[in-house]
C-alpha cells in the first residue's frame, strides 16, 4: 500500500512550492488581481512552462512530460496553497486534456506542443444560461460547413475564456451528438466575448458564437465520453487544489488565534475557539483523504466506479471546504472580511470550486442514484 508521495512527486511539490513561495506572496497576488492587466502573470506562465507544468500530463511526443493524475494533484495542491490566478485549469487541465483525450493525432500535434511551451491559451465552454450542471442539456449547435463546421450559441462562466486563443466548446450536431469543437477567438465577427473577473478573482467570460468557423475535435460521436473523463480528472485536480487552500486557511487561522490579543491574552486560550479550530482540522483530514481517494480512483478501469468515487470525493471536499472556509473567516473576525487579508480569498476560491462542474446536491444525487459507495 503506497499512499505517500513518491520521491519524484515530493521534488515536484518542492519545486512548485518554492517558486510560488518566492513569487506569490499576498501583495503580489493582490496587485495582479486588482491591476489593469490580464489578472494574472504572463511571466510566471513562462516559468510554469519551463518547469514542464503546462504539458505535465501530455504525452512526450506532443511536448509533454507524460505524467499522471498523481503529479497533477501535487501541482494543484501547491496552486491551491498559493491561490494561483494563472489559467492553468482552463488551458492545461481542461483545454489541453480535451485535445489529448478527443483530438486526432494531427490535432494533438497542432495544439499540445504550443500549450506546453506556454504560447497557446485554451478554455473550455460547456455551461449555458439554461444548462445548470448538465453537459447535454445545451442549445449550442454545430452544422457542417465545407471541410469543417460552424458553431452558434452562448457559453457562460468560461474559466479563462477572456484570454484564450482557442476555445473548446460543446455543441449539438444535427444528429443530436454533443460534440467538441475548436474555435479561434481571433474571428471577432463570429466570437463575441464579455470578459469579467469570476467571484474568486480568476478571470472568465461569457461568449457568444455566431456561425463561428470551427473544427471538430476528433469525432463528435465520441466527444461526450472524452468530456466526462476529462471532468473526472479535473474534479480530482480541484479536490487537490481545495485541500491546499483549506490547509492554508487552517494555518492562517491557527496563527491568528495565537497572535490576536483580546481581554489581555491571545484568543487561542479560549476553549470555544480551540475546539472550533480542532473541528476544522478534522474536516481537513477528511478532505485530504477524499482527495487521495479521487486520485487513486482515476486508475479504476471501470468507468462507472471511477466516476462515482470521484464525485463522492468531491462531495466531501465541498462539505469540508464550506466548513473550513466559513470557520476560518469567523475565527478571524472582522479582518477575515477584508480584501487586504488573504483568508477571505481562500474562502472565495473554495466556494467557486464547490460550484464547478456540479454542485454538492447534484453530486450527492448522482452518487445515490449509482447505488452509493458501500455494498455487501
Amino acid at each position: 500500500m503506497d499512499l505517500e508521495l513518491s520521491d519524484e512527486q515530493k521534488m515536484l511539490a518542492d519545486s512548485v512550492g518554492s517558486l510560488l513561495d518566492k513569487r506569490y506572496d499576498a501583495n503580489t497576488r493582490l496587485a495582479l488581481l486588482e491591476g489593469d492587466g490580464d489578472g494574472w502573470s504572463r511571466e510566471l506562465w513562462k516559468q510554469y512552462a519551463e518547469l514542464g507544468l503546462l504539458g505535465l500530463t501530455f504525452d512526450e511526443q506532443y511536448g509533454g512530460a507524460g505524467m499522471g493524475a498523481g503529479e497533477l494533484a501535487v501541482v494543484m495542491e501547491q496552486f491551491g496553497k498559493a491561490l494561483v490566478l494563472e489559467p492553468f485549469l482552463a488551458t492545461v487541465v481542461l483545454g489541453g486534456a480535451l485535445v489529448a483525450a478527443a483530438g486526432t493525432p494531427d490535432q494533438k500535434q497542432a495544439l499540445l506542443p504550443s500549450v506546453a511551451d506556454g504560447s497557446l491559451l485554451l478554455a473550455f465552454g460547456y455551461a449555458e444560461p439554461g444548462s445548470r450542471w448538465s453537459l447535454t442539456d445545451i442549445s449550442a449547435t454545430a452544422v457542417p460547413a465545407g471541410n469543417g463546421w460552424t458553431v452558434s450559441g452562448e457559453k457562460i462562466a468560461v474559466i479563462g475564456g477572456d484570454s484564450a486563443d482557442r476555445l473548446v466548446v460543446t455543441a449539438k450536431t444535427p444528429d443530436g451528438a454533443v460534440g467538441l469543437f475548436v474555435v479561434s477567438t481571433a474571428d471577432a465577427a463570429a466570437v463575441t466575448r464579455a470578459p469579467y473577473p469570476m467571484q474568486d478573482g480568476l478571470r472568465g467570460a461569457d461568449i457568444l458564437l455566431t456561425d463561428a468557423p470551427a473544427e471538430a475535435l476528433g469525432s463528435p460521436a465520441d466527444a461526450l465520453a472524452a468530456v466526462e473523463s476529462v471532468i473526472d480528472v479535473a474534479t480530482a485536480a480541484l479536490c487537490a487544489e481545495a485541500v491546499g487552500a483549506m490547509e492554508r486557511m487552517l494555518w492562517l487561522t491557527v496563527d491568528y488565534l495565537k497572535t490576536r490579543v483580546q481581554f489581555g491574552q491571545p484568543i487561542a486560550v479560549f476553549q470555544t475557539l480551540q475546539h472550533r479550530a480542532a473541528t476544522m482540522y478534522v474536516s481537513l483530514e477528511q478532505a485530504r483523504s477524499a482527495a487521495l481517494v479521487a486520485r487513486l480512483a482515476l486508475a479504476d478501469d471501470d468507468v462507472d466506479d471511477r466516476r462515482t468515487a470521484v464525485r463522492a470525493a468531491k462531495v466531501q471536499i465541498d462539505l469540508a471546504a464550506r466548513h473550513v472556509g466559513q470557520e476560518a473567516v469567523q475565527l478571524h473576525g472582522g479582518i477575515g472580511m477584508t480584501m487586504e487579508y488573504p483568508v477571505g480569498h481562500y474562502l472565495k476560491r473554495t466556494t467557486v470550486i464547490a460550484k464547478t462542474f456540479a454542485d454538492t446536491d447534484t453530486l450527492v444525487r448522482q452518487v445515490g442514484a449509482a447505488g452509493g459507495l458501500i455494498s455487501a
Partner: protein, 391 residues
C-alpha cells in the same frame, strides 16, 4: 478502497474472510448480523476458535501467540472479522491488558496470564474510571496500601463494561498519595472473586445491561500482582490507550450498518431526502476509511503506543458517523421501531415487525455512548487543539 490495496493485501483479506466464514458458525454470525448481542459463551467460544488458529491476538509479540503482520494486515484481519459478523475477541484481553503485560510485566506474570488471556480462559475487566475520575482519569482515588506481602485496595470503579462476566480486573490504583497525581498510580491485577469485591449493575437508557460499578472494600491482593513497577501505572495506561490508533474509527461496523440499512430500507431509498443523508454518510465513511489507511501506511515508521492527534480525529469522526448511522436505521423502521420488545415474536393474528424492530432505537440510544467513552469528543478536540495550536 480496493485501489489502495496491493494484490497481496487482497489475497490476505480473502484468506481471512474464508477463515471467518468457514470456521465460525453461520448461525452465530447471522444472529450478530441481525443486531443481537452475542452471549458470553458466544464470545469465549469464538475467541478460543480464533486462538487455536493463531488469530485471536495477532498484534501481540510472536512468542506470546502474535503474528508477524504489518499494521495493514492487522487492520484487514479486524475488518474482515467485523464484516463477517464474527464476535470480536474480548477487547480488554486482547487490545488492553495483554499488550501491557507483554510489554511491561516480568516473565512470571507473562507466563501466568498471557496464554489464558489469549484463550479467553480469563475474562478481563477494565478498572479505570471512577465516579470523580472520568475525563480527568488521573484524579482517581482508589487506593492500594502495602501490608506485608499484600496490597489492600479500597475504593470504587465505574462504567466497568461486562464486569458481570469478569474473572479478573486490571485496576489503576493510587499507591503514592503524596506524589503529583499522575506519578502515584500503579496497575494492579485483581481476582474479582476476592472477598471485598462487589459488583453493582448500571442500567442504561437503551434497556440493556453492559456496565457496572465495582466496589473494593479492604480487598487483599498479593504483592506480585502489581504490573511492572510501582507508580508507573499512568505510563502503562497511556500505552494501553494509545495502542490502537485506528480501531476507534470503527469503519467495519459502519459498513455493516450501511449494508443493513440498504437491505431494510425498501422504498425509502427512493426518497431523495433519505437517500441524500445516506449518501453523505457513505461519503464520510469512505473518507474516514482512507484516513485509517493513511495512518496504517505511515504507522510502521512510528513508535508503538505514542499518542497522535490523528487517533483523536478518527475517534471523533468515527463516533459521529456511528451515531448518524444508528439514526438512519431508526428512520427505516418508522412506527414499527417504537415498541420496546425483546423479540420479533407477536401474538397470533398480529403482523410480525420487520428485522431491526428490536434493536434500532435501543442501538441509537446505546451509541450515544460513543462520543462519551474512550475520551469524550470534547477531550479529543482538546487534544487536537493542543497539537495544532502547540501550547
Amino acid at each position: 478502497m480496493d485501489l489502495a490495496l496491493s494484490k497481496e493485501d487482497h489475497a490476505f483479506a480473502e484468506r481471512m474472510r474464508e477463515f471467518f466464514t468457514s470456521e465460525i458458525p453461520a448461525e452465530l454470525r447471522d444472529r450478530v448480523a441481525r443486531g443481537e448481542h452475542p452471549t458470553r459463551e458466544d464470545i469465549v467460544t469464538t475467541q478460543r476458535t480464533l486462538n487455536a488458529h493463531g488469530l485471536a491476538v495477532p498484534h501481540w509479540p510472536v512468542e506470546w501467540g502474535g503474528q508477524d503482520w504489518t499494521p495493514l494486515q492487522r487492520h484487514l484481519w479486524a475488518e474482515e472479522m467485523t464484516l463477517a459478523h464474527v464476535p470480536s475477541p474480548i477487547v480488554f484481553n486482547t487490545a488492553m491488558i495483554g499488550p501491557v503485560i507483554a510489554q511491561f510485566a516480568g516473565q512470571e506474570m507473562k507466563e501466568r496470564f498471557l496464554p489464558k488471556t489469549a484463550n479467553a480462559d480469563i475474562w478481563w475487566s477494565q478498572g479505570f474510571s471512577e465516579p470523580n475520575a472520568g475525563s480527568d482519569l488521573a484524579s482517581l482515588k482508589t487506593t492500594a496500601v502495602r501490608d506485608g506481602d499484600e496490597w489492600v485496595v479500597n475504593g470504587q470503579k465505574t462504567w466497568t463494561t461486562y464486569a458481570q462476566y469478569g474473572d479478573w480486573i486490571f485496576n489503576l490504583v493510587r499507591t503514592d498519595p503524596e506524589a503529583q497525581k499522575q506519578r502515584g498510580i500503579s496497575m494492579l491485577l485483581i481476582d474479582m472473586r476476592t472477598p471485598g469485591v462487589t459488583i453493582r449493575p448500571i442500567h442504561l437508557i437503551d434497556g440493556g445491561y453492559e456496565v457496572n460499578e465495582v466496589f473494593f472494600d479492604n480487598v487483599r491482593v498479593p504483592a506480585d500482582n502489581l504490573v511492572g513497577e510501582e507508580n508507573q501505572g499512568w505510563t502503562y495506561a497511556k500505552f494501553l490507550l494509545g495502542n490502537e490508533r485506528t480501531s476507534n474509527a470503527g469503519v467495519g461496523i459502519l459498513k455493516n450498518r450501511i449494508i443493513r440499512i440498504k437491505a431494510l430500507a425498501g422504498s425509502l431509498l427512493d426518497d431523495p431526502l433519505f437517500l441524500s443523508r445516506l449518501t453523505r454518510l457513505e461519503v464520510e465513511i469512505r473518507s474516514l476509511e482512507m484516513s485509517v489507511l493513511r495512518v496504517l501506511a505511515r504507522e510502521a515508521s512510528q513508535p508503538v503506543g505514542m499518542p497522535d492527534p490523528i487517533s483523536s480525529v478518527l475517534k471523533l469522526k468515527g463516533s459521529e458517523l456511528q451515531q448518524e448511522a444508528t439514526e438512519l436505521l431508526v428512520d427505516v423502521l418508522g412506527p414499527q421501531g417504537l415498541a420496546y420488545r425483546e423479540s420479533v415474536e407477536v401474538p397470533d393474528g398480529f403482523t410480525p415487525p420487520p428485522e431491526g424492530a428490536v434493536d434500532a432505537l435501543p442501538t441509537y440510544f446505546n451509541w450515544r455512548k460513543a462520543s462519551i467513552y474512550a475520551g469524550s469528543n470534547e477531550v479529543q478536540r482538546g487534544i487536537i487543539a493542543k497539537a495544532i495550536l502547540k501550547f
